[in-house]
């Protein structure tokens, strides 16, 4: 059977599974549409949260990023897992006790203000939309490479599948499809990692292979990797190039941003009890850690494989470099997609892959007749190409394609649902049309989910240049706007309407402004994006953590000089602080 046919079968089978689950678990009420009726088991919810959270970026891009960044890639590993500690200890149990459908719903009620609710909706929509466009793009890439259809067709098929289960099934439908998607994506991620770990170190467990020695030698994998990359002028793998302060702030922005992402928070509204929300956070992080501790091992193994493939012999000897004509099969297939490219700068027909921005090394390279780095590898292809690089059987390649699509679809569905809930529940029901019937609200939820699918599909088809950049910044914006407002709403009696609104707006506008200043989305950048120009040496990626501090400072200062919240709000805060008496989530 050809690889393409096999891939069609595997991906097609997973689609049938997702749609079948969605049809069986169709939502019949707003409670089921928004929070799955509040009856999801904590383990199932943990699995669904893991799939919801791990996007195309986690599955496809992260290991590749780490492979090229080395130690600097740690910001993603710590940032995207440490946020669950904040979520479990500071937010999830209390928001579950509060027992409403949406994040803006909490902010609106705790700060007794329609304006606070609308500001929260704006933050939510901005964060979620930028994110979802990236997912649809991921679906398109996987389709076009593995199913050899064009990106548009791939995107339309992906949209149709999401449409069926998110629009019909609502939260109840996506919860159980996400459970299935988690199983597909973790299998797809782990199987090739186990094979490759075993091939290189003789140890089949990637987490252990990461610290093990190269098979048949006494050299640890990481020591060997540091050696081969520094021989080619690259920075040692286990060293970083970012400043400590920048690593600190980026990690903080990603951690806090994770805890402030509405589509993740809302998953904790679906379990029956407060204690279940805590347990569920544990299960979510366990299922996430299964991928997140494998990813850095995959990154290191992939980088070693790549360097040793291009530089099979001694550095400096002409025959030490791979001849272009002898390039492996996977190189040829990925060349067609343009994601790996060779340019023979010195005309010797061999591939010189090295760091030509390293001035000290460039001199030696020149003496060997090297005229610049000749290989460009897109970071996104490493995970997808891994099974081919390691010459694994075709079914593994097909499984990886299905896994990438599962990761993208599960996250897209979760995001679309919080967008539709924000529109139908927070804007229509709570703000503009309070008399809307439950049936009409459910219909509005479905219509807005459908419109969001179309808009996301359009953004994925024709991404405005800024989408890819902005996805990373969604975290900073969530960290600077939503997280502090929720946290203060639980842990402080004194922060009031004026303080919360001023804090959210300060955090959002400061962070957005700083990013625009250096990245120039929509407009020309105002200043060059280099460390010398940054505030306290914090890059735009990490500025959300600083925005969060500003949010806290402004909220406390403004609250101190304006009237305290009414007594009813004090009672509300007292009520959410104790677990007893959590009923099912309700609208009002």
């Amino acid at each position: 059977m050809s690889l393409q046919l096999l891939t069609y079968l595997v991906v097609g089978a997973t689609f049938v599974l997702y749609v079948a689950i969605a049809v069986r678990t169709r939502a019949g009420s707003t409670g089921e549409f928004y929070v799955a009726g509040g009856g999801v088991h904590p383990v199932a919810n943990g699995m669904a949260t893991a799939a919801d959270w791990m996007s195309a970026a986690s599955f496809i891009s992260m290991a590749g990023l780490i492979a090229f960044l080395g130690y600097d890639g740690s910001v993603y590993l710590m940032g995207w897992t440490g946020g669950y500690v904040l979520l479990a200890l500071l937010l999830a149990p209390y928001l579950r006790k509060f027992g409403r459908f949406t994040v803006p719903g909490f902010i609106g009620e705790r700060y007794y203000s329609g304006i606070a609710r609308v500001v929260a909706v704006i933050c939510l929509i901005f964060v979620s939309f930028t994110y979802v466009a990236g997912q649809m793009r991921g679906v398109g890439i996987v389709f076009s490479r593995f199913l050899e259809v064009d990106v548009t067709t791939g995107l339309l098929v992906g949209m149709a599948v999401v449409f069926v289960y998110a629009v019909l099934g609502g939260m109840k439908g996506i919860t159980y499809t996400q459970v299935a998607q988690y199983c597909v994506l973790i299998a797809a991620y782990t199987v090739p990692a186990v094979f490759i770990a075993f091939q290189v170190t003789g140890n089949p467990i990637p987490q252990l292979a990461f610290g093990d020695t190269i098979a048949g030698t006494d050299t640890p994998l990481l020591a060997r990797l540091d050696q081969v990359v520094t021989d080619l002028g690259f920075r040692a793998y286990t060293d970083g190039s970012k400043s400590t302060v920048d690593v600190f702030f980026i990690t903080a922005a990603l951690m806090v941003g994770t805890a402030g992402l509405p589509h993740v928070i809302v998953r904790f509204f679906t379990v029956p009890k407060v204690a279940d929300a805590r347990r569920s956070a544990f299960w979510a992080l366990l299922f996430i850690a299964a991928l997140y501790t494998t990813a850095p091992a995959v990154g290191a193994l992939a980088r070693l494989n790549l360097v040793e493939t291009m530089q099979p012999g001694p550095v400096g000897a002409p025959e030490g470099n791979l001849a272009y004509e002898a390039r492996p099969e996977w190189f040829r297939t990925w060349e067609e997609t343009g994601l790996i490219a060779y340019s023979d700068r010195n005309g010797d027909g061999r591939i010189q892959y090295y760091d030509d921005s390293n001035a000290a090394f460039a001199e030696r390279a020149r003496a060997w007749g090297w005229r610049g780095n000749e290989l460009e590898v897109d970071r996104d292809i490493l995970v997808l190409a891994n099974p081919e690089i390691a010459r694994l059987p075709d079914w593994v390649v097909a499984l990886v394609a299905a896994g990438g699509i599962a990761a993208a679809l599960s996250t897209a569905a979760g995001l679309l649902l919080v967008i539709s809930a924000a529109i139908s529940h927070d804007l229509l029901k709570a703000t503009f049309l309070p008399r809307i019937s439950e049936r009409a609200e459910l219909l509005a939820g479905r219509v807005s989910a459908a419109l969001a699918v179309c808009l996301a599909g359009y953004l994925g088809y024709d991404p405005p240049g800024f989408v890819a950049q902005v996805v990373a910044f969604a975290f900073g914006l969530a960290a600077a706007s939503l997280f502090p407002a929720i946290l203060m709403g639980i842990f402080s009696f004194r922060v009031n309407r004026e303080g919360a609104v001023a804090g959210m707006l300060t955090g959002l506008l400061f962070t957005l402004g700083y990013i625009l200043w250096f990245k120039g989305i929509f407009v020309e950048p105002m200043a060059e994006n280099v460390p010398e120009n940054w505030l306290f040496g914090i890059s735009p990626e990490g500025i959300g953590a600083f925005g969060m501090l500003l949010n806290f400072a402004v909220a406390f200062a403004v609250s101190a000089v304006t009237p305290a919240p009414p007594a009813a709000v004090r009672e509300l805060v007292e009520r959410i602080r104790v677990p007893r008496g959590a009923g099912g989530a309700v609208g009002h």
Partner: protein, 89 residues
């Protein structure tokens, strides 16, 4: 329980909760920002297995510690809930 006793109980519950959260977040901070970022160069001089120690915390150890922390928090919190008779199961 009189209303005063009930209030005192709720306040004691909240204080116990904050102490637990404070302890957990201190460990959370040290494991990631401490060992993985601020002290990484010092710890990297020590090797465990094939890992420089700081690099290990940044790419593996911190994640396992986060997981252990949440597990500990879930159990400790369940005990505090029961001690103050405020549990929901």
């Amino acid at each position: 329980m009189t209303p005063e006793e009930h209030d005192a109980n709720t306040r004691a519950y909240w204080r116990a909760n904050l102490r637990l959260v404070g302890r957990c977040l201190a460990i959370w901070f040290v494991a990631s920002y401490g060992f993985g970022i601020l002290l990484v160069d010092v710890l990297d001089r020590v090797r465990i297995g094939g890992f420089p120690l700081g690099f290990f915390f940044a790419q593996q150890g911190s994640i396992w510690i986060f997981l252990a922390l949440i597990a500990y928090y879930v159990r400790a919190m369940a005990r505090i809930d029961r001690d103050h008779d405020l549990h929901d199961d």
